[in-house]
């Protein structure tokens, strides 16, 4: 039953991927990409990976579609055709890689096989000791924030670097000129229905983002998902009300402060742990009871992660939205 559904989904994935590659119209490709990421989210969901599914849905459906559309606004709508010779090279590279991958993975154990060596040593340790050491049931959050806290610190810094990189490339100055002013002022202001519905939705999205942030220890959630959801709420506000109002509500400096603050908060927790006598990012020394101390540490670093992700997504969006489109007539 589940297998039938999973096969059906995978077939849809392949079909969508083929459609994305085949189309030359980038607008269609963007729409198909959002469908693709939605299908991936359902796939993750079938594999019982709820946290990953939530992140994929939150980021793939809202934020990346919006950012791709903003990028499309700045460039042309069609993909330029590639040279015939480079196409053959590409085909050869792809086929070689596929053959290598398949021959490499053909002898690995089946997905989810409980006797696989991957599941013998580390995974049972995490599964058994999460409740005892951390006091809450969500193993994914425990692994992400505490057992593998260094990796998550690196991820936060990668998000930081990505946002800074985009800001460098797009040169976050305000655009000038009459077209920019017009576009910035209006937004979607004169459409009554989206404004009304959006006005109802935005507070709920913010509230839901906070819920996901702090509920991440008991259900799917955590910093990344919450950051994406809160960023989507602010992006919705920016789309509906226009750039100027959105920037008044949440200025570029505030976004950068969020990114920097989030990453610093994460690192600061680690340093405080060191100052209190433990090693870097060893939360158990924060308070007297190690279990509570770990929970406190996890909440604070998840907050840092959420802040950094939210600020990064927002600043990337506003960097795209601030540029004037280059070609006016085609």
């Amino acid at each position: 039953m589940t297998i039938v559904f999973a096969l059906f989904l995978l077939t849809l994935l392949v079909v969508t991927a083929l459609a994305i590659v085949r189309t030359k119209n980038l607008f269609i490709a963007t729409m198909l990409l959002s469908i693709f990421s939605l299908l991936m989210a359902v796939n993750f969901f079938i594999l019982d990976a709820a946290d990953v599914a939530l992140t994929e849905a939150a980021v793939g459906a809202g934020v990346t579609t919006v950012i791709f559309l903003s990028a499309l606004r700045l460039t042309s709508q069609y993909e330029r055709g590639s040279l015939a010779s480079s196409r053959w090279i590409a085909v050869i590279v792809v086929v070689t890689t596929t053959v290598l991958l398949i021959s490499g993975t053909i002898n690995t154990p089946n997905l989810g096989d409980p006797n696989a060596p991957v599941h013998q040593h580390v995974a049972p340790f995490y599964l058994e000791n999460t409740e005892a050491l951390m006091g809450f049931p969500n193993v994914v959050t425990a692994v992400l924030s505490s057992f593998r806290g260094y990796d998550t610190l690196g991820e936060v810094f990668v998000v930081f670097i990505a946002a800074v990189g985009v800001m460098f490339i797009l040169d976050a100055r305000q655009g000038t000129g009459p077209e920019y002013e017009l576009r910035v002022e209006k937004g979607l202001k004169h459409h009554l229905i989206p404004r009304a519905v959006g006005g109802l939705l935005i507070p709920f999205m913010l509230l839901f983002g906070l819920y996901v942030q702090f509920h991440g220890e008991y259900g799917p959630g955590g910093g990344f998902q919450a950051g994406a959801i809160v960023a989507t709420a602010f992006i919705l506000h920016a789309i509906l009300e226009g750039e100027r109002t959105a920037l008044k509500a949440f200025s570029r400096n505030a976004q950068m402060a969020l990114i920097i603050g989030g990453s610093t908060l994460y690192g600061a927790v680690g340093v405080v742990c060191m100052l209190k006598g433990g090693t870097f990012l060893d939360y158990s020394v924060l308070m007297e009871d190690p279990v509570t101390a770990r929970q406190v540490g996890i909440i604070i670093i998840e907050l840092g992660v959420g802040m950094a992700v939210c600020g990064a997504l927002l600043s990337i969006f506003h960097s795209f939205a601030a540029r004037k489109p280059v070609a006016q007539a085609k």
């Binding site: 559904f5 607008f27 599914a53 849905a57 576009r183 709920f204 919705l236 789309i239 006016q328």
Partner: protein, 81 residues
Amino acid sequence: MTMVLAVARAVKGPSIYDRVLAANMFGTKTALLLAVVSFLFGRMDFLDLALAYALINLVGVLAVLEFVEGRIESGKGKLDD
């Protein structure tokens, strides 16, 4: 109950075709369908997923609207196939 689930799942096959705006609309409807499917599984925790998607799905469509409006304003005209 399982029969109902089976019927529900079997009929919810999203239909795929890629015309210009129909692809867009399909994305919207797929979102709805998949949000429903995600909690027919019976895992009550995963309702958060459906809730998140129900909220977020609107943003993509509104971004399309703004994109098209921007093109109309600047005079570039239609999105052709």
